[in-house]
């Protein structure tokens, strides 16, 4: 079963690559892609640690709510692990 995750609902200033429209949304890890230098560090020319990157799948209903035209369609976004938190079944 695919790991359910929530994108952290943080809104820091600075060079952030996690799209705002996905913050706070819940999806599943479709696959893990390996570790890559963190662009949040690369952007400032400082030493960039390699961070695990995941492809996360969201439903349109989750992202857009009642506005979703095709609620069952899905959207994949590649998000670094430090922006994700596990969601446990209630």
């Amino acid at each position: 079963m695919m790991q359910k995750v929530r994108v952290k609902p943080l809104m820091p200033p600075g060079h952030v690559r996690t799209p705002a429209y996905l913050r706070g949304k819940t999806g599943v890890i479709e696959r893990s892609l390996g570790a890559f230098p963190n662009p949040e560090d690369l952007a400032y020319g400082v030493a960039a640690t390699a961070k695990p990157l995941h492809r996360v799948r969201f439903t349109m209903a989750e992202i857009w709510g009642a506005d979703a035209e095709t609620p069952d369609d899905t959207l994949d976004a590649e998000i670094y692990e430090h922006w994700l938190e596990p969601v446990h079944a209630p």
Partner: protein, 144 residues
């Protein structure tokens, strides 16, 4: 000021509409704040038609592109640094400057930060180039 609040999609292009939108409440919500998304993080916003017109690049635009590749290859900065400065330039620059004008400003900022040259050296070089004249023709004639 009259604004078309139903179609912010055209903000992606330089147009009279986008210039009017700069002063609208609709646009102000994209301004940077610690509590809201940044102006460039526009995923999910209404969008207009995709412009499909093509054009040839001018020689200076090609040179700017090459400068990015050389600067990155030499290790002065990365594409992430390019994007950081482009985004920090803000929405006004996005609306008023051409694509490669924004690039060359960002590349220069990154090269200064990376130690390729100093602002003083840049200033001297810019004055020297401006002295050559307004056109390539003037420059080819040599010093006045």
């Amino acid at each position: 000021m009259s604004t078309n609040k139903t179609n912010p999609g055209n903000r992606l292009h330089d147009s009279p509409l986008t210039r009017r939108l700069q002063d609208s409440p609709l646009t102000r919500r994209w301004q940077d704040s610690p509590l809201t998304r940044r102006w460039h993080d526009m995923g999910g916003d209404p969008a207009g038609p995709v412009p499909k017109d093509q054009h040839d690049f001018a020689i200076w635009e090609k040179r700017v592109d090459a400068l990015m590749i050389i600067g990155a290859a030499k290790g002065y900065f990365t594409v992430d640094g390019l994007r950081r400065v482009l985004e920090d330039m803000g929405e006004e620059a996005f609306e008023t400057m051409a694509y490669y004008e924004r690039w060359v400003a960002s590349i220069s900022q990154n090269l200064i930060e990376g130690g390729a040259y100093t602002t003083a050296e840049l200033a001297e070089k810019m004055a020297e180039v401006a002295n050559r004249g307004d056109t390539y023709g003037d420059a080819a004639k040599g010093p006045a």
